[in-house]
């Protein structure tokens, strides 16, 4: 299988689906000649033309609303928000409108649309360009929230997202864009709402999303040399969340750690933990159920502070060791 980057995998999914389904089109800011802030849509304007690679004014709320209107008429819009932080400009349209239409209208409207949004820190873009806001989106019934960690998942989930009849928030991580992995050239989908055990292990279950999956896998590799076997679960979809896979795993390992970059307070780790300790699996748990998350601060500009604001591999290793060795 060819090795391509996370960014290329997403582009490939968009490209192939636009070839396959003429109802699919892209809209967003600077996605044409410029290729988007991260170059993800580079080359697509030349391939598909201005009608299907629609550059918009800087009007995020109306970008999302335009996707809604077009979706109601049977199109399959894929909107890009240049940075996830800007989703806060669109939440009325996304949460009050798109997410609720199918329900409010008694099942008689469907809103098949995808909104792409790169989140995460690490690029020195400071507080307004580095947030991980997926936990907020997860609180809105009617939305689907996808959050891939690998090129393979990114392509397969994007194809599923575009073909799904509901409004999908497709949350990317800007630092993952350059990471590479094997991706089939052909058409394949990954089911929405199904987690994946990225690495099996008997000693502890660690649930992590996007970049934290990669970091946790590195730590797991290292720890296994010391005989600590970490099971790493990537929910891949945060809403709907595949709690079953997580519950089964925790029932086996008896220990749970949730790792995310998003700020800890109000973060999605709470959702995972509450689902576990509220279930019969509670009886199988041997240690406090912990989370390791971003600090409850805006992301600082300075690179030292920026790193310190979110979990690093050393933090993950330390937390896992403490849990497995019963020091917590």
């Amino acid at each position: 299988m060819p090795e391509i980057s996370y960014l290329e995998a997403i582009r490939q999914a968009l490209w192939q689906e636009m070839k396959r389904d003429e109802r699919v089109f892209l809209l967003g800011e600077d996605i044409g000649r410029y290729g988007g802030a991260f170059g993800l849509t580079h080359g697509m304007l030349d391939e598909f033309g201005e009608e299907r690679v629609l550059e918009t004014p800087i009007s995020e709320a109306t970008i999302v609303a335009t996707a809604i209107g077009a979706a109601l008429l049977g199109m399959r819009p894929v909107a890009e928000l240049m940075f996830m932080d800007f989703v806060l400009l669109t939440l009325d349209q996304l949460a009050n409108q798109a997410a609720k239409m199918h329900f409010m209208f008694g099942g008689r409207a469907t809103v098949p649309m995808v909104v792409r949004m790169p989140g995460g820190s690490g690029s020195g873009a400071a507080s307004q360009h580095s947030q991980s806001l997926e936990s907020m989106l997860m609180h809105i019934p009617g939305l689907i929230v996808i959050n891939p960690s690998t090129p393979y998942d990114a392509k397969g989930l994007m194809l599923s997202a575009i073909r799904n009849p509901n409004p999908v928030c497709f949350v990317e991580h800007k630092i993952l864009y350059k990471t590479k992995g094997e991706v089939p050239e052909g058409d394949y989908t990954i089911p929405i709402g199904v987690a994946e055990i990225k690495r099996p292990g008997r000693d502890i279950t660690v649930v992590a999303n996007n970049i934290m999956v990669i970091k946790t896998l590195n730590v797991a590799e290292k720890l296994s040399k010391d005989g600590i076997e970490v099971e790493v679960i990537d929910p891949r979809t945060l809403l709907p969340l595949d709690t079953e896979t997580i519950l089964k795993s925790v029932a086996r390992t008896g220990r749970l750690l949730v790792v995310h970059e998003a700020c800890q307070t109000g973060g999605w780790a709470g959702e995972v933990i509450a689902s576990v300790v509220g279930s019969p699996v509670f009886d199988y748990i041997d240690a406090p159920v912990r989370r390791l998350a971003g600090k409850d601060i805006p992301i600082p500009y300075n690179r030292v502070l920026e790193k310190a604001a979110v979990p690093q591999e050393a933090d993950i290793e330390q937390e896992i060791r403490a849990l497995v060795e019963g020091r917590i």
Partner: protein, 345 residues
């Protein structure tokens, strides 16, 4: 078309000749004129019945009645085609009826019944009928305005002849999305007819205290969108403006903006005690500028309709509403076992 600044003022209905010359110029048949009367009468009866039901404690939830504004809905509906799209706002009963919605299903939804358009999930503020390209009302003021960009865009991409009519109020025109949407429909020359139903108040806010410059329609100049501001209580004038607008749009010239000056008789919603507007003002509009009365005088004067027909139409309209209430009251509540349905498609 008058660039009425939005202030109400007495006006006589004008001479028989003027009226007949105008409907002739517009090619309006007697049937279509009587049809307008029927539409307005039906809306009026629906709204007064809704108020009665509410007073009788039969409605759980809020509602926004359009009595007094019937000419806007009627005038639009005659100018567009049945398969044109409608994006409605919270004060939307009249527009739904004018677009030909099934009044039984509307009433059932209003009473929250499973037989309603939205299976009782939406209520007055969210009635929609996707079969008839009626994309629904919106509880978020201005929420539908930018969605019209997407509908217009899809129509253009799909190379279809239908247009999208998007209704909103004077207050909604101050939401940011208004600006974003006007700019985008103009940039992309989309087939969207924006209709600002200016009933002179938001909830209680006088349009003159809410909008820096009037008429609201002149804001369309900033985007190079052609516009008109008309007497929204003169159904023929409304039709005249909408006809021009629709022709402009359907011939591929892009969006159009029409502001219709009108007035609502009831309070904004259930909680309104009308402290923000003088009783005299309300009375003035009811006595001197009522759209139905005004139009009736014309039809009688021009002998297009006689008293008898008028009465007959009113009685039929009332019967339709009464039947709808019977249907709705008899209809069952949604089954609680269906609570979790319709969240995802």
């Amino acid at each position: 078309m008058s660039k009425d600044n939005g202030k109400g003022s007495e006006k006589d209905i004008g001479s028989r000749e003027q009226f007949e010359e105008r409907v002739k110029r517009l090619g309006m048949s007697d049937d279509s004129l009587i049809g307008l009367y029927r539409t307005m009468s039906t809306v009026r009866h629906f709204e007064y019945m809704a108020d009665k039901l509410y007073a009788a404690g039969k409605v759980h939830g809020t509602m926004h009645l359009s009595a007094g504004q019937e000419a806007v809905a009627a005038g639009i509906s005659l100018a567009v085609k049945p398969d044109d799209y409608l994006i409605n706002h919270h004060r939307g009963h009249g527009h739904f009826i004018a677009k030909g919605a099934d009044i039984n299903l509307m009433m059932a939804e209003f009473l929250g019944k499973d037989a309603g358009y939205n299976h009782g999930r939406g209520g007055s503020m969210h009635i929609a009928d996707f079969q008839s390209n009626n994309l629904g009302a919106n509880g978020i003021v201005g929420g539908g305005i930018p969605q019209a960009v997407g509908v217009g865009l899809a129509l253009k991409m799909q190379k279809r002849k239908e247009i999208c009519v998007c209704i909103f109020g004077d207050g909604a025109a101050n939401e940011g999305v208004f600006h974003e949407a006007m700019n985008m429909v103009a940039l992309w020359k989309l087939p969207v007819l924006y209709v600002c139903e200016n009933n002179k108040y938001g909830m209680s806010m006088d349009v003159e205290r809410a909008s820096a410059k009037l008429p609201i329609a002149q804001r369309a100049d900033a985007y190079g969108i052609p516009w008109a501001c008309v007497d929204g209580n003169d159904v023929v004038e409304v039709y005249d403006a909408m006809k021009t607008a629709v022709e402009h749009i359907r011939s591929g010239n892009g969006p159009y903006f029409v502001e219709a000056i009108t007035y609502r008789y009831f309070g904004h919603s259930k909680s309104d005690r009308n402290l923000y507007r003088p009783k005299e003002e309300i009375e003035d509009w009811k006595q001197n500028r009522d759209p139905i009365m005004h139009f009736t005088k014309h039809l009688l004067q021009s002998e297009i309709m006689d008293e008898g027909q008028a009465q007959e139409i009113d009685v039929q309209a009332e019967q339709i509403i009464v039947k709808a209430v019977e249907f709705a009251e008899a209809a069952p509540e949604p089954d609680v076992s269906t609570l979790m349905e319709y969240v995802y498609a």
